[in-house]
């Protein structure tokens, strides 16, 4: 500035005024950035390991739910009806080979006998094709695909209108049922659902409509529910879009199905308050009857915690005799390291309690190990971003949904146990529906952002974010300290020259250039991130090539990526004109690192909002890699123990942080290194984009570019 310039020499003589306390704190942190970052990262990892200890017991936060306040009404009569339906279905399966239409007709008849409105919904399975721009648009605006008439499925939907309701709200029950090849478990789930449904058709307390959808699961369990939800929420007005489903049905089949009260029209009943997906598994290795809860929807979204709480509360406290389970990583249960940690924590807890009985933070070692296994599974399935069941489809329409999978302990031929199992399962579901029926508003009281460590323990967002924040806290500090030091070292160089230069304004000008020098580094970072976007789009084109094995596809992908990196870099990376004049400077790599770290910070911060689990795992991998990155040449020149160990760390981290390498290492650890090959990575990535997972975007647009930049810094010549 011209006005400021005349005063600068005088300012240098006068002592600098003391900055404000907050600024002093910031300056102190930046000057101690190495120590602070080591402490923060360690604390972050420790906090993550302590999460099972910090987990709180769940509680029902919405008062209106009142679970278990009424005694269950389901009686043997309904159970017998359900059993009869199961028998009919199993008989049918043995009789006809092509029992597809027939079984649906039976279910529809049973429904309409209860006085429900029954309709069929015909759908075509959406092929899970990768379309790059779909990731950004909301599900409603997606273009219609062309269907072939050969493959379609039929959902059967029954609706009970609530006697006290106004038809504006509904509760959904969904049972996947493969009419072509049904096993006993699916028949059982239909049977239980029917028992509940027949009870609900008689009760007077119903205030929300009940929708029961028997989803035709011949194309997977997710697709029929998703197709039905899409048609439910996006009404089709033009004949063009809806036509292709209805137009091509072969006249005979569907019309045969339609009876007096059964139509092919699409029937609706208000907004959905909650949805329950019922499944009965055939596995009988359990020692007692259990209910497994699956809750993870796409991109790590969870249903409201209250919904899980009701199920747990009813199953645990009302003696339905079910043990409630959530998924856990079994391989972690035998992990000796965790056991040691658990023992330490137990010991510390005991010591603390002996000092002051008020302090209760220790948990038994076995609990700790189990909690960690559950937490790890919860983190893993959230990080994948792939829903763990048909309930995932509901979450896309802001409907809270969970899958309940019953695992009976009986073998299938014991009739008496059947009835008992039906009765208890029916009671549980009735209780849940009755609670949801009491709800006055949407689920909003309890948490949406949480991790489960056991069915009745959770870690809320406020706690687990601390672990994440501690891990990424060093990033801005290191970035700032690198930026400042790079600028200062430069200005000290300039200082010597400027004493010689007679033109103060020229110095002023170089000053301006210096303060914008980070733009060069920013450009490199931008180009690499742009390349990341290109890499994320490449599979779209690779998929068009027919007949490729996954390994060759992966190799083509890698090849094209490297090629595009070369092309992009040669086109865009020509440095700005003024940079030609100045030779590559000492601080260049520091500036580049500073900008890289800032980009990583922004990327991880964004991802933690979209999908926390991905961000946490990514941060654990990338933060040390980025923080330690330093040109290898500098370290080798220094020849000290510290620099040597840093080189080793850099090399190891540089290999592990590469996404395919990380994937193969994880896969190798869990299922043996013999079976792992690079094609698996392609398949895994394919599943990610098929489910529109944000993790895919994270890997290709944050993780991969940052890794490349780290490698670039490592091999930087200076």
């Amino acid at each position: 500035m011209a006005d400021g310039k005349s005063e600068t020499p005088t300012e240098k003589e006068t002592p600098k005024p003391k900055p404000r306390p907050i600024l002093r704190l910031v300056i102190f942190l930046i000057s101690q950035s190495f120590l602070v970052s080591v402490i923060c990262c360690t604390a972050g990892v420790l906090a993550l390991l302590l999460l099972p200890v910090l987990a709180k017991n769940t509680y029902i936060s919405e008062n209106a739910l009142m679970p278990g306040s009424a005694s269950p009404m389901i009686s043997n009569q309904e159970v017998l009806d359900g059993n009869k339906l199961v028998e009919d279905l199993t008989n049918l399966n043995s009789k006809y080979l092509d029992g597809g239409i027939e079984s649906q007709r039976i279910i529809a008849k049973y429904m309409s006998d209860l006085g429900a409105e029954v309709s069929y919904h015909k759908f075509h399975p959406q092929s899970n094709r990768f379309h790059p721009l779909h990731l950004f648009s909301d599900p409603d605006s997606r273009a219609q695909e062309n269907f072939s008439c050969s493959s379609y499925g039929i959902n059967t939907i029954g609706i009970i209108r609530a006697p006290h309701g106004d038809g504006k709200e509904a509760i959904v029950l969904a049972t996947p049922y493969n009419s072509l090849k049904s096993d006993l478990g699916e028949s059982f789930s239909v049977g239980i659902a029917f028992s509940v449904f027949s009870l609900l058709s008689q009760v007077t307390w119903l205030a929300k409509d009940i929708i029961w959808i028997v989803a035709d699961s011949r194309y997977g369990e997710y697709a029929p529910v998703a197709a039905w939800l899409k048609d439910y929420h996006v009404p089709k007005f033009s004949s063009l879009s809806s036509g292709n489903v209805e137009m091509c049905h072969d006249g005979k089949n569907l019309y045969e199905l339609k009876g007096k009260s059964i139509t092919g029209d699409f029937r609706r009943a208000g907004t959905m308050a909650a949805a329950l997906v019922l499944k009965v598994s055939d596995r009988t290795e359990e020692l007692e009857d259990t209910v497994s809860i699956y809750a993870e929807a796409s991109n790590g979204q969870m249903p409201n915690l209250d919904l899980i709480n009701i199920v747990y509360y009813l199953a645990a406290h009302h003696r339905q005799g079910f043990r409630v389970k959530v998924e856990r990583l079994w391989s972690l249960l035998d992990c000796s390291l965790l056991k040691v940690l658990g023992t330490i924590i137990e010991f510390v807890g005991e010591v603390a309690r002996s000092l002051n009985p008020e302090w209760k933070f220790g948990i038994p070692a076995t609990d700790y190990v189990e909690g960690t296994a559950t937490l790890a599974s919860s983190l893993y399935s959230q990080a994948l971003g792939v829903p763990t069941g048909p309930h995932g489809a509901f979450r896309d329409y802001q409907v809270d949904a969970i899958t309940l999978e019953f695992s009976p302990k009986f073998t299938s031929d014991m009739k008496v146990r059947h009835n008992d199992f039906f009765l208890r399962g029916g009671r549980l579901i009735e209780g849940v529906i009755r609670s949801v029926n009491n709800l006055l508003e949407k689920f909003h009281q309890s948490f949406f952002l949480y991790l489960l460590t056991s069915p009745n323990k959770f870690v809320s967002v406020g706690v687990y974010m601390i672990a994440f924040a501690l891990v990424i806290a060093p990033l801005p500090m290191i970035a700032a300290s690198l930026y400042i030091s790079a600028n200062n070292s430069n200005s000290s160089l300039k200082q010597d020259k400027s004493t010689l230069s007679p033109y103060p304004v020229a110095d002023e000008h170089s000053n301006t250039v210096r303060s914008w020098r980070w733009l060069n580094a920013a450009k490199v970072v931008f180009i690499i991130h742009l390349w990341g976007a290109v890499v994320s789009l490449l599979p779209y084109f690779i998929c068009q090539i027919p007949d490729l094995t996954s390994t060759t596809s992966f190799l083509i992908w890698v090849l094209l990526s490297v090629l595009s990196l070369q092309v992009l870099y040669s086109i865009l990376a020509s440095p700005f004109p003024h940079a030609n004049a100045s030779q590559p400077q000492e601080g260049d790599w520091a500036l580049l690192k500073s900008v890289t770290i800032s980009a990583l910070f922004i990327g991880l911060g964004l991802m933690s909002v979209i999908n926390f689990a991905t961000a946490e795992i990514g941060a654990l991998l990338l933060v040390p890699t980025c923080l330690l990155a330093r040109p290898l040449r500098l370290d080798l020149r220094a020849r000290s123990l510290r620099s040597f160990s840093r080189v080793i760390c850099n090399l190891v981290l540089g290999h592990i942080a590469f996404p395919p390498a990380a994937f193969l290492v994880v896969k190798g650890v869990f299922s043996g290194f013999g079976s792992a090959n690079v094609g698996d990575f392609w398949n895994w990535v394919e599943s990610l984009w098929a489910w529109n997972s944000a993790t895919y975007l994270y890997i290709s647009m944050v993780h991969l570019p940052c890794w490349v930049l780290c490698i670039y810094i490592l091999i930087h010549t200076c």
Partner: protein, 450 residues
């Protein structure tokens, strides 16, 4: 000499290639309007600037109803007659609003060219005043690009500008009017400056405060070092009393000249009467000017629409009790007005910079801000890039802007589509954005003011 000439030529060529590249980039983006879905983003189109609302207003007018019926359209009736037909015209197989998109591309390029011309004028004035202070060095030759070129490229390649240009909003046209006003004032084309000021005020009301920098520009001339420096120089020269320098001593900037200012007032009156007459003709059958004022300026001033945007007012007025509403309306609007006078006194020797500060402040505190407003003041900031030495915080601010502009759609998605967040999430990004703007404007105006 030959070499410098060649280098200059090369610079000009690279400048134009970047301009052409930016146009091509926009044209490519125009072909994906559905997939990008930018027109529906609250950051891009506000109730005042959304083209969808304009199309609705045009449709209402076509079916001989008042365009302001139903509180859909809140823009000027002139825009309705100029842009309305473009919203209806369609080519088969092409994006829906192709013509309007092309128009906004043209508006962006025009704005960039005007910024460049303004930059050249400022540069000339600056080196002239340095010469008169005897501080001239080889400033011109050592530069990378002239500040005007930088500002134009910053404006053209700013993602905010690109997003507003592609996102079907009328902000490019409003920005063009503001820049036209500044350019006219810098190059002393009084009718043009008055036209720009009247049109921009008519379109979005807030540029009305630009009358102060425009008057200074016309009265004192473009940005220069403070006048007391010149006085000091003169004084020292008088002491030296060397005759050879006395001969070379250029003319000092004279005091405030009233003539162009009076011209400006006259032209501004003329243009505003003209605009009002046109408006009243176009609204003759409906409510007349009364209705126009209540549903454009009234709509801006009373903050009727509380749909979320990147400003802070929607959240505040959604929360505030009704009987305090008027009080806080006054407080918020006075907030802008309070800052006008002190800044005008302190910065009267730098009218263009004053205009930048005013635009930044009003885009921070206006009732329906969009990223198009930030695009405008960030472009103007480029004009002072060579003079604002040592922008220490530039990197920090850059990261902040990148972070906020990525975080804001994510938070919006979390609130509206996923339902796991709430309004506070989105408002948090709006707060951070406001803080960044405060930091930017205060940080860059501090060395000038202090």
């Amino acid at each position: 000499m030959e070499e410098t000439h060649q280098r200059k030529k090369k610079k000009v060529a690279s400048f134009w290639s970047w301009v052409v590249a930016s146009i091509i980039f926009r044209l490519i983006l125009i072909y994906f309007p559905k997939n990008l879905n930018l027109a529906a983003r609250p950051e891009v189109s506000t109730p005042l600037t959304s083209l969808r609302r304009l199309a609705e207003g045009f449709w209402l007018k076509q079916s001989s109803m008042s365009p302001y019926a139903g509180s859909m359209y809140h823009g000027s009736p002139l825009l309705l007659s100029l842009l309305g037909p473009l919203t209806v015209k369609r080519i088969e197989g092409q994006p829906n609003h192709l013509f309007f998109s092309l128009l906004s591309v043209i508006a962006d390029v025009c704005s960039a060219m005007l910024i460049r011309a303004t930059g050249k004028k400022l540069q000339m004035a600056y080196s002239y005043s340095l010469k008169s202070l005897g501080l001239l060095t080889q400033l011109g030759s050592s530069e990378i690009l002239s500040s005007g070129d930088i500002a134009a490229l910053v404006y053209l390649w700013n993602p905010f500008t690109i997003v507003t240009c592609v996102g079907l909003s009328t902000s490019p046209i409003e920005n063009l009017a503001v820049i036209l006003c500044l350019f006219g004032a810098c190059s002393r084309l009084v009718p043009l400056a008055a036209f720009g000021w009247v049109i921009s005020t008519h379109l979005s009301l807030y540029p009305a405060i630009l009358i102060i920098p425009v008057v200074f520009l016309l009265g004192y001339g473009p940005d220069a070092p403070p006048r007391k420096l010149f006085m000091k120089e003169k004084y020292s020269k008088n002491l030296d009393e060397s005759p050879s320098e006395g001969l070379m001593q250029p003319k000092l900037p004279i005091g405030f000249s009233w003539r162009p200012v009076i011209y400006f007032v006259f032209w501004a009156l003329l243009w505003s009467v003209y605009v009002l007459v046109l408006c009243s003709i176009s609204l003759k059958q409906y409510g007349g000017l009364q209705e126009m004022f209540t549903s454009t300026y009234g709509f801006i001033l009373t903050v009727e629409d509380l749909s979320p945007n990147i400003g802070a007012l929607w959240y505040f007025f959604a929360e505030v009790f009704d009987f305090f509403r008027n009080f806080f309306l006054i407080v918020f609007h006075v907030n802008i007005l309070v800052m006008i006078l002190p800044l005008a006194i302190r910065l009267n020797h730098r009218p263009c910079f004053l205009a930048f500060v005013y635009i930044a402040i009003s885009s921070m505190l206006k009732s329906y801000p969009s990223v198009g407003d930030s695009a405008l003041y960030l472009g103007l900031l480029g004009l002072f890039v060579n003079q604002l030495a040592d922008m220490q915080f530039s990197f920090f601010l850059f990261c902040g802007y990148v972070g906020v502009s990525l975080l804001s759609p994510v938070m919006h998605n979390l609130w509206i589509w996923r339902g796991t967040g709430n309004a506070n999430f989105y408002f948090a990004t709006a707060t951070v954005y406001a803080c960044l703007q405060v930091l930017l404007s205060s940080h860059y105006s501090f060395p000038v003011v202090a």
